[in-house]
């Protein structure tokens, strides 16, 4: 099977996110970067499917030159190929992003054949536009279902599970198909030392591609008004248990 997984490089925030002075980006001066969580699971899922079916995994990202790090990380956990659509790192709107990714995928498929399965993250951790995968798939004429937390390949068909309150829905798509996956579909592995070493040798296919901007524009990022809570300290240690249970009693949940 030929599998493509699309990932996004995002900052890894801790307890607070700060914004740059111009309001156009997250201040990442003191932050590390990571692969958006849903997509990290997408890479793991792609690698697991490839291990079971004897396929190859290509990872595609759109971002600054530094996003090569995320491609190398994917290679360190088992991906075979990395493709970077290199930008200046500024935030691209969803339509522009989708157009560039569509063009890149079309070119990859013209060279190496159609991808049987394309995995996207359900939404990116940062901008959360909830649409790039859907737009790309519509342009490619390929079916896509989002919110997927379970994948089973059964010959020419992919069976996918989507969580609903108290259970899940089942979808069955003929391959080639695409899915938007969510964290929880698997527990991503950690890279082995051998994987890390191998990933250093990954040859990254860097593509220069631009696309027309869409209709959504970022004006400014800002933090929401803090919910200031006057925390009532009920006490220290187990001696505070009666006071804590008083609270439960007052709220009527006891």
């Amino acid at each position: 099977m030929r599998i493509l997984c699309c990932v996004k490089r995002v900052p890894a925030p801790g307890a607070k996110i700060n914004v740059t002075a111009d309001g156009l980006a997250v201040d990442a001066a003191h932050l590390g970067f990571t692969t958006s969580p849903h997509e990290e699971c997408g890479v793991e899922e792609a690698v697991q499917i490839a291990e079971r079916t004897g396929g190859e995994v290509t990872v595609l990202t759109l971002g600054p030159a530094e996003a090569a790090e995320q491609l190398r990380y994917a290679a360190s956990v088992g991906a075979h190929h990395g493709v970077l659509i290199q930008t200046d790192g500024s935030a691209w709107d969803p339509q522009r992003t989708a157009r560039a990714m569509t063009a890149a995928i079309q070119s990859l498929e013209a060279d190496g054949g159609v991808f049987d399965l394309i995995l996207f993250g359900n939404e990116s951790a940062d901008s959360g536009g909830f649409q790039v995968g859907v737009r790309v798939c519509h342009s490619l004429g390929r079916p896509i279902v989002n919110g997927i937390k379970g994948i089973e390949i059964d010959g020419p068909v992919v069976r996918a599970r989507r969580e609903i309150d108290g259970g899940f829905e089942v979808y069955e798509l003929d391959l080639p198909a695409a899915l938007g996956v969510k964290e929880g579909i698997n527990l991503p592995r950690y890279p082995t030392m051998r994987g890390r070493l191998a990933s250093k040798k990954l040859e990254i296919n860097t593509v220069e591609l631009d696309a027309d901007a869409g209709g959504q524009s970022l004006v400014r990022l800002h933090r929401p008004a803090e919910t200031v809570s006057q925390t009532v300290i009920l006490g220290d240690g187990p001696e505070a248990a009666p006071a804590a249970v008083d609270v439960l009693e007052e709220l009527g949940v006891l």
Binding site: P13, G14, A15, K16, I17, P37, D93, Q95, N122, A125, D126, S127, F130, Q131, V134, R135, H138, P143, I144, G147, I164, G166, G167, F168, E169, V170, Y171, E183, G184, L187, G215, Q216, S217, L218, V219, L221, R223, P224, T227, S229, T231, V232, I233, L234, G235, D236, G237, P238, E239, A240, A241, A243, A244, V245, V247, L248, L251, G252, V253, L254
Partner: protein
């Protein structure tokens, strides 16, 4: 006209539809237009759908029915919406930014090659004839906000962030039910390829998104076994156990228990957060809680600072002491 797309599950309207109608009412007033609603799917022209949309301020309800729409399907719903937009020409379309809502709007936007702005918390229609909308929308699951603009060719495609408004019917209740009108659509049979094939029910009763009490555990719990007293507390209170991402990453709990940006958004009467520092990833899933009681050894922990009440101490001692105290009070004659 503002068209609100109603999220429903086989004809039953839930909270996302009520929220979209509540949000839509304010938006329609700002646009100076009527609010209409659209229900897509076989057999959705039910009394409940008409009554709820009327109670929430809908002047007119459109329904779309077709063989392909036997159950939810993102492509079939998206294509239906495209045809309804073509037929009715609304000034804007709004849905709730739930999993289905965002997916259907993305499907419609992709087909039209129009922009779509997801998860807005506030929307301002164009001031003049330039068609430029402005809005505030959610980034990072709600820990950051984005002011954005939308240049709409015709109809603006929008969703409002899930739980960004509390749903409320119109007061006083409208005298008449909305007029119901079926809109014919022409759907290709191949759109059935992404329609739900089957459903599996895993659990009955109280689930994490609806639990009145959630007892959360984080890295401080230390192991899978360490959750036993938390399970006990949840059971005593008729609630559910939740956890942070650190816990699922360590394999101590299944991901379905995870509260957070990439897990479940909870909204209990009280969230008892024990051994949880309160990183952003977790906080955005927990911030819908009506009250928070934190149990933590660190009085400076983000979760303690944001809580209504806190016990400073080791959860391995505090939670069992709470369980014993609850039992003692219940056994009291």
């Amino acid at each position: 006209m503002l068209l609100v797309v109603l999220e429903h599950d086989r004809g039953a309207l839930g909270e996302p539809a009520r929220e979209a109608l509540t949000f839509g009412r304010t938006l329609a007033a700002k646009m100076g237009v009527e609010m209409h609603a659209l229900a897509i799917g076989a057999g959705v022209a039910t009394e409940q759908v008409a009554a709820v949309s009327g109670d929430h301020g809908t002047a007119r309800l459109y329904t779309v029915d077709h063989d392909v729409l036997s159950d939810f399907g993102p492509e079939a719903w998206g294509q239906s919406l495209v045809q309804v937009i073509g037929e009715l020409g609304p000034g804007a379309v709004l849905a709730c930014g739930s999993e289905r809502g965002n997916e259907v709007m993305a499907q419609a936007a992709a087909r039209l090659d129009w922009p779509f702005v997801a998860n807005c918390t506030d929307i301002t229609p164009p001031d003049g004839g330039d068609g430029q909308w402005s809005m505030t929308r959610i980034q990072w699951g709600g820990s950051l906000l984005e002011d954005a603009t939308l240049a709409a060719a015709g109809t603006a495609l929008l969703t409002c962030g899930l739980h960004s408004v509390a749903s409320a019917p119109v007061e006083p209740a409208p005298a008449a039910a909305p007029a119901v009108q079926a809109v014919p659509v022409d759907l290709d049979a191949h759109l059935a390829r992404t329609v739900v094939k089957d459903r599996v029910v895993l659990e009955a009763g109280v689930t994490l998104p609806t639990a009145p009490v959630v007892v959360g555990g984080g890295r401080g719990v230390g192991s899978a076994e360490g959750f036993a007293p938390l399970e006990e507390l949840a059971e005593l209170l008729g609630g559910r156990v939740g956890c942070s991402r650190a816990v699922t990453n360590n394999g101590w709990r299944p991901h379905s228990d995870q509260v957070g940006q990439t897990g479940t958004r909870i909204a209990p009467e009280i969230y008892i957060a024990s051994g949880i520092s309160g990183a952003i990833q977790h906080w955005v899933g927990a911030m819908g809680s009506k009250h928070i009681l934190a149990v933590n050894i660190d009085p400076e922990a983000n979760m303690v600072v944001k809580a209504n009440w806190a016990v400073i101490g080791d959860l391995h001692q505090v939670i069992p002491a709470m369980n014993a105290e609850i039992r003692r009070r219940r056994d009291r004659p």
